[in-house]
Structure formats: C-alpha cells, structure tokens
Amino acid sequence: MSTEESSQEKGYLDMDLLRFTTAGSVDDGKSTLIGRLMYDSKAIFEDQLESIENTSKQRGDEHVNLALLTDGLRAEREQGITIDVAYRYFATPRRKFIIADTPGHIQYTRNMVTGASTANLAIILVDARKGVIEQTCRHSFIANLLRIQHVVIAVNKMDLVDWSEDTFNKIKEDFQKFASRLDNIVEISFIPISALKGDNVVEKSENMTWYQGPTLLYHLETLYVGPDANHIDSRLPVQWVIRPHSDEYHDFRGYAGRVAGGVFKPGDDVVVYPSGFEAKVKALHTADGELEEAYSPLSISMTLDREIDISRGDMIAKPNNPPSVGQDIDAMICWFSDKPLNPRGKFVIRHCAKEAKALIRDVKYKVDINTLHKIEGDNEFKLNDIGRITIRTAAPLCYDSYKRNRVTGSFVLVDAFTNETVAAGMIR
C-alpha cells in the first residue's frame, strides 16, 4: 500500500462528525439548499439525479428541482412541501455530515424540535426579500432552547434582490437585535447565498464580491465544534445487565450503557443512584477488550468490585458530583400532540433508561416564542406550545439540568393510553 493510500484511509477512519439541522419558513429554500450541498459535493448518484430529472420534467419545472432529493414521501412530492424530518448524509474529505431537514410550517414545529435535539449546528434560512420574520425568531428560539451552540443565518435568494449588500446588512442588523436574548448560542454567522444558483454554497459567488467570508460548506467543514458532551460529571445510565451464565464468565455482571458524561477509570469510586450504594470500578469492558477509560458517547459495560443490586434505569456516577435525585421535576416542555395537554391526564416519563408513571403537578406558564415573553392567563398547552411545567414521578429520577447535560437533562412524556410521544422536556 502506498503512503498516499494509507493516509487517505486514516483520513476516513479519523473523520469527525457534524450534525446539523435546517430551519426556515415554507419555500425559503431549505430542500433546495440541501440538494445543492449534496449535488455540489458529489454526494448525489447518477440514478438519483436521473430519477429527479424525470420527475421535474413531468411536473414541468424549469430547472432540475433539487428539492426532490430530500422530499421523499409521495404526499410531499405531490404537494411540493416537506412534511416530515428527513435525514441526509454526505461527506467531504474533511468531515462527515448528518443533516436533519425539518419542515417550516407552523404546525410542524415539533419536527424542528426533533431535528434540533441531536444537532450541533442549525442553519436558519431567511428569504432575502422578506427579511427577519416571526418564523425566524421562532426557529432561533427553538435552537437556543435545545442548546444548539452554533447558528448560521443563511440569507437565501440573493439573486432576487440584485445581490444587494444593503439588504444583507439590514437582515443581519435586525437579527442581531433579537439574538442578544438567545443566551445558549455561542456563535452566529451570516452568509448571503443563492441555493438555486449555487452562490456561496459550495462555490464562492462571483455576484457578491462584497462578501469576504467563507462559503457555507467551507464554514461547515472547518467550524470548531467543541465536544458536545460534558466531561466533568461522570454518568452511566444502566440500560441492561449482562449475565453470561457460562462457565468461563460465571460471575460476570456487566452494567451495560452508553456513558452520558464524565470519565470512568478502573479503580474509581462510584455511587449507584438512587440506592446510594458505593463500590469501585473493577473493569470497563467492550468486546474488543478492556478500556483504560470510558467517556461519552461510548457504549461499554462496567463491572464493580462487589455485588450490589443494580438494574435498568439506575445511574452510576462518582461521589464528588452526583446527579440530582428526586420525583419533582421542573422543566420546559414542547407539546407535540394534536390533543391539548390534559393536566389530569396519565403519562409515562422516559428519562435515560428509566420509565415511570408521571402526573402534571402544575402548569406554570407558556412562552410566546416570537417575543420570548411569558403568556399571562392561558395555560392550555396545544400542539407546538412551549412552556414551563412541574411533574411528579412515581419513582425517583437521577438527572441533571439540561443546560449541564443534554442526555441526563432531557426526557419525553408518553400518553399512557395512546402510547404516543406527546411532549419533549428539558429539565431546569
């Protein structure tokens, strides 16, 4: 094998991952932009291209409609709109990307929340002709609420405003005024683009020489995204107990899970919550051998130096910075169901590997996500409403605040009768 080959290969195996989500109103050009990113970075195959060329022709579209690449379901193709979250994948020699393409209709806010929950970065599209609108604020608010630390404001359709620098600057100013209230976002970039024509998406625009910044793809490829995980508070939510029942591993009891924070090493003192039992880490196992240390997001199994009763839903942590343990949870939620929240309804909460019955204790307030103000006097949660509630759970949860840990600080509420997932929650 030549040196060049082996370095390429190392490149692939060493590549890191950026997950991002797109947001914007209907027709701002999200699907076209994703199609463009994939097309220009050569992630589109010939047969896919052929198939959308045919469909575009049939529909009488003027250009090959790149949006058809992501608008997967029949209803979407017929109505020409995106109705669900679609996941897309592409890679450049620098990075792998996972995109959550989420629809912009108001009634689908829940999909944006879903896409945002696993993203490190959000691209929010703004139509250059319309500027910053209610939806822009709504989407930025959600990105902030879900703790996405990097945001790109992509000012699209610059071709329709004569590539005007003034228009771009005005949008930037308007957004910055609003953004001062978004406390979780670490970094915001503004990029003028035309998704349709390709300007500043992958190739630098020749129509906007006044813009000195990077193209969108270059920005996505080179942005430093610090480890999302919290490496201070050690957390192992126990998913499953491995008991081989074989002669060779007769006494083996491995507590299997995906590390949700901090670092574990053999010999560490640990405490099991909620029981409070103490032990030392004996070893950290994987099928490939024992690890010297385990950290997020690795899936491992842990053995301890003594036998204690541990089962699914328990949390293994270190004694110096334990999780909160309790049955009263104060959280921001986003309501996902067509049926409004019934404060006397029966719910099941899913948090890490724990499942417990839950009741709504109190609805504190809802938030107007356009102004970020509390809404007075209307506490009925309807589809897409966001606000603060308190919950009482039938068994104790071991948790952190969402600000501190996205894994141990998040939960969903499930309707105990329909089994639907009805709310997403972020613990305060």
């Binding site: 195996l13 060493d14 890191d16 991952l17 195959f45 010939e46 047969d47 896919q48 997967g72 379901l73 193709r77 669900d84 979250v85 679609a86 996941y87 897309r88 994948y89 890679a91 792998k96 996972i98 999909n111 929340v113 879903t114 929950s117 696993t118 480890p227 995980a229 490496h231 998913q239 499953w240 491995i242 008991r243 081989p244 029942h245 074989s246 060779e248 591993y249 083996f252 491995g254 299997a256 995906r258 670092v263 196992h285 994987t286 099928a287 997020s296 690795l298 899936s299 996902f336 099941v348 899913r350 996205r406 894994v407 998040s410 939960f411 969903v412 499930v414 089994n419 997932t421 997403a424």
Partner: protein
Amino acid sequence: MQDYSVTHLKQLESEAIYILRETAAQFERPVLLFSGGKDSIVMTHLAMKAFWPAKIPFPLLHVDTGHNFPETIQYRDDLVAKLGANLVVGSVEEAIKDGRVVEEKGPNASRNMLQIQTLLDALEDGQYDAALGGARRDEEKARAKERFFSHRDEFGQWDPKNQRPELWNIFNGRMAQGEHFRVFPLSNWTEMDVWQYMKYENIELPSLYYAHERETVTRNGTILAVSEFVEPREGETVEVKQIRFRTMGDATITGAVESDADTMDKIIEEVAAARQTERGNRADDKRSESAMEDRKKAGYF
C-alpha cells in the same frame, strides 16, 4: 487537556450498540432479521458486541425466498454456529405450498412481495414484538424518514405521516396488543461507513461480494447471475463476466456489477468512486418512483 474526541465510525458503532440494548430491554420478544446481506451481517456483528460476553439474547430470523445463492445459506449457517445463536427460518416456498401466498406471474415476477407476507406470518408465529432490520436511511428516499424505532399497527403497516417523534437518544417502544416495532440500528450509517467498518473490524463476507467470474444475462439493464432460478430467455445471451454483488437478496432480481474488486480495499475504492446507488440496480425499486414507499407501508423493510 485530554482529547476525548470519538471518530464518526466509533460514534456510529456506539449508537448501534445502544439501540440493540434498548431493543433487548424494551421488548419481550425481539428478533433480528438476517438476510445474508452485508448490512444484516454488520448488525449481527454489532449485536455480538452489544451483549458480549453473553450470547445474543434474541434469535436470528431468515426469510428464505427459496431463491437464494447457496453461498448465502452456507455463510448464514456458519455464522450462527460460531455465535451460538438461535436461528429461525421463514420459508416463502412453504408459504406458497400452503396457499398463504400466490406466486407472481409474468416475465418480471419476483418473490419480493411474497416475502412481506411470509415475514409477517413468521413474526406472528413467533409472537415477536420487535424486528431488528439493517436498513439505512441513505439507501432510498422513503427510508430517509424512518425512525430508529418504527411503529407498525396490528396489520404490520407503516404510517409515514404519523410517526412518533424521536428526540435525543430516547426511544419510545410502548405499544398496544398485536402491534409491533421495526428497529433499525444502522439508520445513520452510509454504504461507505458499512464497508469501512467491515474492513476496520475484519468482518468476513460471503464470497459473492468479491469479484468473481460467473455466467450472466443482462435483463432491463440489470446483470443477473444465471442459476436454477434465472435462466436465459429468448433473445438473451449468456455471457461470462467478472462481477460482484453490492447487495444481497432474491437471486432473481439482485443485479450484479461488473468489477474486478476482489479484496475489501478494492471494493472500498470502487464504492468511493461509484456513480450509482447500491439499490440503483434492483429491479423492484425501478417499478415506480414510490415503489419503496408502497412496499414499506405494506410491511417491507
């Protein structure tokens, strides 16, 4: 400070193991669908890792169309023996004999649709409440919208417009009597990831994946291996070609590609340079633009 970064392949592995463990924990009777294809081979390998040193705590289910390459069956039996796993076989052949399904007629008949019924029957017979599949979202447009935990009603159908939202790494596997779930641990993997991972993990594959010489016919632009199930028709000529398979399925519809990639490294090079998706040469997807979506709604993987 120490660098705790985790490469994307390790992240994908870790995520898949997490999903496999959730499946074992949340369901009473999960089953892993083993097709003999590379994705199900990787999924089985990940299941081995997820529960090591214990055995995989659920059986492997193979829906046998009766149109298999012998290499696939040999490979399956060897793997099952090596893992000490439990194998269940659902046979399309028997379903036809029992009159539960009727074979398609005509020149482009395939057993793909029959596979759906046989699969649903096998799931019902075994009272399985979760079926693990190796499908990936990058394979096809309708699959791009699949969840990790995909709910199926009591008829085994998928309702793409009414899917449960999936947030963070929380998966809701609650269901009513008679319903079940499809679970896809490789959702976030691409074809390239699968190949790179197999190489990294030294996973052995059936010989069909490597370039070899074989008698073929070319039908509707698809290269098919001549076998007892695919015989040359009028006007078709049998040609000996150097080919390999990119996916594994019913021998009557799985197209081969001309290739001289006879090692993992060469295959990876070829995949990187490919201009066609791996499903691009499957006759069943070509039937119409939403062929996959229709089959998925009916219970296909």
